[in-house]
């Protein structure tokens, strides 16, 4: 039998359907790899018993002809998703050993479709970070190395991207608030899809910035992303910001035909100091799509340069309020204090890491009396202008093509002392969150150091079918099949 961990989601599904192997065998192959992968630090909690139990159930379903869409497919779950009976910490000390008595809507959708849970994946604490270095469980190491240097896997869904790149799960759930799915996907040679805001329920996902957070998959291929999204997406009465709209079969949208598709190239994404390789890759992407019959249109998104500052007001403002519930009173870790205020201070001082504290303070400041109008209200105005930029661009094009990140993966520790440099990683991705649009990163090439680079396609609101169709054409044209050398398996 071939190595089952080499299969992508669609291949594994088809293999299971043909009974070439069992769900238990598939889960075991991945669990074995997971247990030997501690050098990557991608998983913060493996759940082998649960995996075996779910896989056995899947085998029964397959045997009885009742296989569901993701039957028996082993995946990892970002630790931001609450999983019933399984420790969920958002990779923060403040949650202690919190075990939710409930399951997030997105993961429940996946289990209802037969997916098998391998464990919980590392992420930046409360999803705040672009390198997965702020986790309470320590940094995740990118399976890709440049000249022997250990690199970050991107963040905040660094555990998810590293796991998929290292074949420690066929796919993974992730969340994206400012680029946390797409940037790690770009850094690891994987596909990362951030759906339209409201496409997936946020219920049961530990909140970072409620108006920006959106769940999505990290996968090996565009087809796999389509399969995952079809299962993850749903209208949920328990999340009033989720949108009541039918979920199409996204896989069926992958026709390979993008003739006449108008692809917008936003001039403002040509930023200073962008590496020539990325510039070149972008042009390459344009050529590929043109060759496939797409029409290339130059567009302008004039307020792009204000996106990052606006994002770093809005997201921390919401976070400062969302994280107020972690007070040591009801659950999670508590530090004793001389009185209630001291208990809060001690608990939060010990429970939150530096980056979380930084953002809570920025957000608290931005919402304070006397600053609210100058910062928060202004940022909301910018946000509206950015959304209008996209609306105007979509009058002349159907999707946008940009680089995903301004650089390839960087060494661990490089940007830790320079938060602003770290925040610049999100420069091409935050606009999409601010506008609530879908975006996808596709691995499109390698840089001179042999590191993967990604291209981003941005779609219209709820235009995931068109977006995925274009993404698959790009994926096909790029023919990216590089894989990291396995140096980590113990």
């Amino acid at each position: 039998m071939a190595d089952l961990t080499e299969l992508n989601l669609a291949e594994a599904r088809d293999g299971l359907a043909k009974k070439e192997f069992s769900a238990v065998e598939l889960a075991e192959a991945h669990m074995t790899r997971v247990s030997a992968s501690s050098a990557l630090n991608a998983y913060v909690l493996a759940t082998p018993e649960k995996a075996m139990e779910m896989a056995a159930e899947s085998d029964k379903k397959i045997a009885s002809g009742e296989a569901r869409p993701l039957e028996g497919l082993p995946i990892g779950v970002k630790d931001l998703f609450c999983t019933k009976g399984v420790r969920t910490t958002a990779c923060s000390n403040i949650l202690g050993d919190f075990i939710p008595p409930y399951e997030s809507t997105v993961t429940q959708n996946l289990w209802n479709d037969g997916a098998v849970m391998l464990g919980k994946l590392n992420n930046d604490e409360f999803a705040m970070g672009s390198s997965n270095e702020t986790s309470r469980f320590g940094a995740v190491v990118n399976p890709w190395k440049a000249n022997g240097t250990e690199l970050v896997p991107g963040g905040s869904s660094g555990g998810s991207s590293a796991a998929v790149a290292a074949r420690l799960g066929i796919a993974a759930t992730a969340t994206d608030t400012g680029g946390s799915i797409r940037q790690p996907a770009a850094f690891t040679g994987t596909v990362g899809l951030k759906p339209t805001y409201g496409r997936c329920s946020r219920w049961g996902i530990v909140a970072f910035a409620s108006s920006l957070d959106q769940a999505g998959p990290i996968t090996q291929t565009v087809r796999d992303a389509a399969m995952m999204l079809t299962s993850m997406a749903s209208f949920d009465k328990r999340d009033t910001t989720s949108v009541e709209r039918d979920v199409p079969d996204y896989e069926a949208a992958l026709t390979g035909d993008i003739k006449g598709l108008r692809v917008g190239i936003p001039q403002e994404y040509r930023v200073d100091n962008m590496p020539a390789e990325i510039e070149k890759l972008w042009q390459q992407g344009i050529d590929w799509l043109k060759a496939a019959g797409a029409e290339i249109v130059d567009v302008s998104l004039p307020h792009t340069k204000y996106a990052l500052p606006a994002y770093y007001i809005i997201a921390p403002a919401e976070a400062s309020s969302n994280l107020a519930r972690y007070d040591g009173v009801r659950y999670g870790a508590r530090q004793d204090g001389v009185d209630i205020d001291d208990m809060y201070a001690q608990t939060r001082a010990a429970g939150f890491g530096d980056e979380v504290k930084r953002r809570v303070m920025i957000g608290t400041y931005a919402l304070s009396a006397g600053y609210y109008d100058a910062y928060y209200v202004k940022a909301l105005q910018v946000r509206r202008l950015i959304a209008e930029d996209f609306t105007k661009a979509y009058e002349v094009c159907d999707v946008l093509l940009t680089p995903t990140t301004p650089s390839a993966a960087f060494p661990i520790g490089k940007n830790v002392e320079d938060p602003l440099e770290m925040y610049l990683n999100d420069v091409f991705t935050v606009t999409v969150n601010l506008a609530g649009l879908p975006g996808i990163s596709i691995p499109a090439g390698l840089d001179a150091d042999g590191l993967p680079l990604g291209l981003q396609l941005i779609g219209k609101a709820f235009g995931e079918e068109e977006l995925l169709r274009a993404a698959q054409v790009l994926e096909e044209a790029a023919g990216f099949d590089a894989q990291p050398q396995d140096w980590w398996s113990a």
Binding site: G204, R238, S321, R325, L367, S368
Partner: protein, 493 residues
């Protein structure tokens, strides 16, 4: 020009009190504002707490439309602007009984805007009090400090319960006006059924803003007295606080803007926190919730189902039943009282019924500490009793006696008044012959009094009394009166 009354005297002259109230009215809903948890009063601590109420990670609020309806309904009852678009904001602060670390409230765009209610003052004057706004918000839980020597406990049953905060304009000028305002507001809420108005259980509580000034001056610095939970305490708190402020100013001090607490044991208010210590609540729109939007049809449908409100009912009682404004006002104070009256008054002299309802029924209930729903005498029986007076079966005095007998019979609303009259032989004597005999007897026995009466006609009353006594009170007083006058030769006038 507003009339200046209710001034209170200080050492340096008269002072005017300026009052504005923020009333928190718990929405009469069996589920919370953003969760399905129950809201029953007095349940075991922490037995009515959903994952949302406890602010577990990843939990999201979902608006309870029933509560929205009740807020709109209340807004309509307050003749207020209904905002078809409003926004929920987060009010951020830390407290152990506030699990989210913020209260979901409405700050800049409330669901209900300006309105007004009319209050009835003791001197018969009607005054309009402006309503600034009404907004929906979550209640907090309850911290219990008396359960353990060195720990506090938290009960989250109330956490997330829907409140309507109803903010008045600073239009009140005395404790009595503030009390009348709360009474009227409570009556309207109870008529609408949007809040049970139960102050003892905390379903209705008031924050009272008090300031004082010399008539005609600018508004003074205000102090806010938090969470006063009875109408009597509202009066006491205002009286105390106004006097405190006046004394402070007259002694050369200045009033500091403060939040204060009223202590019912001492009748005093004391400082809780000053303006400097006030929280910066960092209000911002709750990103978990979409703006609250509804159509005009939604509002119109609620408007159609609105019951008759106290002011309209009062006007109708005056116009249709010919009641005095005072009687009408008393009867409409509670919807149940008004309904009781209307059943009793059906097809008969409404004024007589009103007298009996107010004079006998309310007095009896008050004395027995019973609610009108538990009245031992039914509305129909009150009506029958009034009929017995009208057809001269009993006199008004006997009717009182009959009422008391019926009241004691309770609580099953036993015998009808006619049965009691029959059994106790209380039927009024209207047979002129029998009355005449009694009159003749009294006249014959008192020749001296007859002479006096003929000089001083007022003495005739003495004869009437004697005859009533002789007939055991059963004689028709009018008939007795007429005969006595005749026999004494005083009837030509």
């Amino acid at each position: 020009m507003a009339e200046i009354n209710n001034l209170i005297a200080g050492a340096t002259g008269n002072w005017e009190i300026v009052l504005g109230l923020e009333v928190h009215a718990q929405v009469a809903s069996t589920a919370k504002l953003f969760s399905g948890a129950a809201t029953e009063f007095g349940a075991e601590p922490n037995s009515q707490v959903s994952l949302v109420d406890a602010a577990m990670p990843g939990m999201l609020p979902v608006i309870n439309w029933f509560c929205v309806e009740q807020a709109v309904r209340t807004g309509l009852g307050l003749k207020a602007q209904i905002n078809n678009y409003s926004v929920f904001d987060r009010k951020n602060y830390f407290y152990p009984d506030l699990p989210q670390g913020y209260q979901i409230s409405q700050f800049q765009q409330p669901i209900v805007g300006e309105g007004a209610i009319e209050i009835d003052l003791d001197d018969g004057v009607v005054k309009e009090i402006g309503i600034e706004r009404l907004h929906l918000e979550q209640d907090a839980g309850k911290s219990l400090h008396d359960q353990h020597p060195d720990m506090s406990f938290v009960d989250l049953n109330r956490s997330g319960v829907a409140l309507m905060e109803i903010v008045s304009q600073p239009d009140m000028r005395s404790a009595a006006e503030a009390q009348a305002y709360v009474k009227k507001l409570r009556a309207i809420l109870r008529y609408l059924g949007t809040c049970d108005g139960n102050m003892e259980q905390g379903s209705l509580r008031a924050d009272v803003n008090v300031s004082v000034r010399k008539p005609g001056d600018e508004l003074g610095t205000r102090c806010e007295i938090k969470n006063v939970n009875s109408i009597r305490f509202i009066g006491q708190a205002i009286e105390y606080e106004a006097r405190r402020q006046i004394d402070l100013i007259e002694d050369g001090g200045t009033v500091e803007q403060q939040t204060r607490l009223f202590d019912p044991k001492t009748g005093e208010t004391r400082a809780m926190r000053s303006k400097e210590e006030a929280h910066d609540y960092r209000y911002f729109p709750d990103p978990d919730l979409l703006p609250l939007e509804f159509s005009q049809d939604f509002v119109d449908e609620i408007a159609e189902s609105l019951p008759e409100l106290p002011d309209d009912k009062k006007a109708r009682f005056i116009n249709d039943y010919g009641l005095t404004p005072y009687d009408a006002g008393v009867l409409v104070g509670e919807a149940e009282n008004a309904a009781f009256f209307e059943v009793a008054a059906e097809g008969r002299d409404a004024k007589a019924v009103a007298n009996m309802v107010i004079g006998s029924v309310f007095a009896g209930l008050n004395k027995a500490d019973l609610a009108i729903a538990d009245s031992p005498v039914s509305a129909a029986q009150v009506g029958q009793l009034v009929d017995l007076i009208a057809d001269d079966t009993v006199s008004g005095r006997t009717a009182k006696e009959v009422f008391e007998l019926m009241f004691e019979e309770g609580p099953d609303q036993g015998k009808d008044p006619s049965v009691i009259v029959e059994e106790k032989g209380l039927k009024q004597v209207t047979d002129t012959g029998a009355i005449e005999g009694a009159v003749d007897e009294v006249i014959a026995a008192n020749p001296d009094k007859v002479a006096q009466a003929q000089e001083r006609p007022k003495m005739a009353g003495w004869f009437v009394g004697q005859v009533m006594q002789a007939t055991g009170g059963k004689a028709n007083p009018q008939a007795v009166n007429k005969l006595v006058m005749q026999k004494l030769g005083l009837d030509e006038a």
